[in-house]
C-alpha cells in the first residue's frame, strides 16, 4: 500500500504539467511519406491512430475518405483503475484488464496503423501484447508506421504528439507528461515485429528510426 500512494504522490507532485506545449515544430518524415502512398492510393481505408487525439490527423485522414479509429494508448495506460495489487503487496499494471478495455475490435479490419513513438514510452508489460493485438486487428498487407528513438536521443527525449501537416511533413508538439521508458535497437524492433511480413527502416536526423511494418 505505501508503494501505491508513492506512485500517486510522485505523479501528482513531481510530474510536469499535463498540457502539451503550444509550439508545433515541423519535421520531414520519409517514413510517413511512404505511408501516405498507401493511404492516398485508394479511399475507404480503415486507419487506427494510437497517438493522442489530433484534430489535424482526423481531418487529414477523413478528408481522404478513410474511417479513423483513435485510441490514445499511452494515456489509457495511466488509468489508476488498471493498477492491481499482487500477492507480495507490490503494485502492477493489470495487462488483461487493459486489453479488455482497449483495442477491442472484431477481426482484422485495419488497413493502416499509426503507432508513432508510443512503444518507447509505454509501460514494459504492455509493449509486446500491444504489438500482438495490433497484428491481430490488421488486415494482411496492412501497414504500420512506428517511430523509435536511438540511444543518442538521450533519456530525456520528450514525448511528442504527431500532427500530419502534409504528405511528408509532420508537426511535433511536446507532451511533457511521459518519460522515455526504453530504447529499442534494430534487433529489438525486428523481434517485436517478428510475426509481421516485412520491416523497412528510415534513419532520421533527430535520433529517431522510422519503421514501416507490413502485416
Amino acid at each position: 500500500m505505501p508503494q501505491f500512494f508513492k506512485m500517486f504522490r510522485s505523479s501528482a507532485a513531481g510530474a510536469p504539467p499535463l498540457t502539451p506545449s503550444q509550439e508545433r515544430v515541423p519535421r520531414r518524415s520519409t517514413g510517413f511519406h511512404e505511408f501516405t502512398k498507401v493511404i492516398h492510393a485508394r479511399e475507404g481505408l480503415t486507419v487506427l491512430d494510437l497517438g493522442p487525439t489530433s484534430p489535424t490527423n482526423i481531418h487529414y485522414l477523413t478528408s481522404l475518405g478513410h474511417k479513423v479509429y483513435n485510441v490514445d494508448v499511452l494515456l489509457s495506460s495511466t488509468d489508476p483503475a488498471l493498477l492491481r495489487k499482487t500477492e507480495d503487496d507490490s503494485i502492477t499494471l493489470d495487462v488483461e484488464r487493459f486489453f479488455a478495455e482497449n483495442l477491442v475490435f472484431r477481426g482484422d479490419q485495419f488497413d493502416a496503423v499509426l503507432l508513432w513513438s508510443v512503444a518507447d514510452y509505454l509501460p514494459e508489460p504492455l509493449v509486446k501484447p500491444l504489438v500482438e493485438r495490433i497484428q491481430s486487428v490488421m488486415k494482411p498487407g496492412g501497414m504500420l508506421l512506428g517511430f523509435f528513438h536511438t540511444k543518442d536521443a538521450g533519456p530525456e527525449a520528450p514525448y511528442h504528439r504527431y500532427h500530419i501537416a502534409g504528405p511528408d511533413v509532420l508537426e511535433l508538439q511536446q507532451v511533457p507528461r511521459f518519460r522515455l521508458q526504453r530504447v529499442f535497437n534494430n534487433r529489438h524492433i525486428e523481434n517485436l515485429f517478428q510475426n509481421f511480413r516485412s520491416l523497412k527502416f528510415f534513419l532520421a536526423r533527430d535520433h529517431t528510426r522510422e519503421v514501416l511494418v507490413v502485416r
Binding site: 502539451p20 484534430p55 482526423i58 481531418h59 477523413t62 483513435n70
Partner: protein, 184 residues
C-alpha cells in the same frame, strides 16, 4: 431623479448556456429516475425558473436539463436541447440539436441533427449534419456524421465515420470537413 440602474450582465461560463432553464414541453422523458434538487445550483435556478414562468415574455428557445437532473431511460424530443445533467439510456432528437454542457454526463447513444459536446459522453453519436467536440469534451464512442469539429484538448476514443451527403458525393463534399485546431 433616480438614475436608471444599469442592467447586470450574467457572469461568463465555460460553455454557452441557453436563455431558459426548463425541460421543454415537447421533450419526452420516458423514465425520469430521480432529480437531486439539493445541489446549490439547482436551488438557485428555481427562483429564476419561477420568475420566467410567470413573466409575460417567457419564451423557451432551448429546452434545458440542469446539472442536478438524472435521467434513466429514453430521452426523445422535437426541439433543441441543452443537457447539463446526467443521462443513461438513449437520446433521440432527430432533426434538432443537442448541446451537452460542461457538467453533462451521458451514457447513451445519441442521435440528433447536430451535437455539440462540452461534457462527457460514453456512447455512439450520430449527428446527421454536424458533431462538435469542444476542448473540454470527453467522448468514448463512435461518431457518424457529415461534418466534424474537434478542438484541441478534447479527448476522443473511438471511430469517426464521415458520411457523404446524399446530394453531393464528390470529393469536394468531403473536403468541407472543418476541424478547428486551436492549440491547447
Amino acid at each position: 431623479m433616480w438614475k436608471a440602474r444599469p442592467e447586470e450582465k450574467p457572469s461568463g461560463s465555460a460553455a454557452p448556456a441557453p436563455s431558459t432553464t426548463n425541460i421543454g414541453t415537447n421533450t419526452n422523458l420516458s423514465a425520469v429516475s430521480s432529480s437531486n434538487t439539493s445541489a446549490p445550483a439547482a436551488v438557485a435556478a428555481r427562483p429564476a425558473f419561477a420568475a420566467q414562468r410567470t413573466g409575460d415574455n417567457f419564451r423557451a428557445e432551448v429546452a434545458h436539463i440542469g446539472k442536478s437532473v438524472l435521467i434513466k431511460g429514453e430521452l426523445s424530443g422535437s426541439e433543441d436541447l441543452y443537457l447539463d445533467g446526467e443521462v443513461e439510456g438513449s437520446v433521440d432528437l432527430k432533426q434538432h440539436s443537442l448541446t451537452v454542457g460542461p457538467h453533462g454526463r451521458v451514457r447513451a447513444n445519441i442521435r440528433a441533427r447536430e451535437v455539440i459536446l462540452h461534457g462527457k459522453v460514453e456512447g455512439n453519436i450520430q449527428g446527421d449534419e454536424k458533431v462538435e467536440l469542444k476542448k473540454s469534451a470527453v467522448l468514448v464512442g463512435d461518431i457518424s456524421t457529415q461534418r466534424i469539429t474537434i478542438e484541441d484538448g478534447a479527448y476522443f476514443k473511438g471511430a469517426i465515420d464521415i458520411q457523404k451527403d446524399g446530394k453531393s458525393q464528390s470529393g469536394e463534399a468531403r473536403r468541407e470537413l472543418s476541424l478547428s485546431a486551436t492549440a491547447g
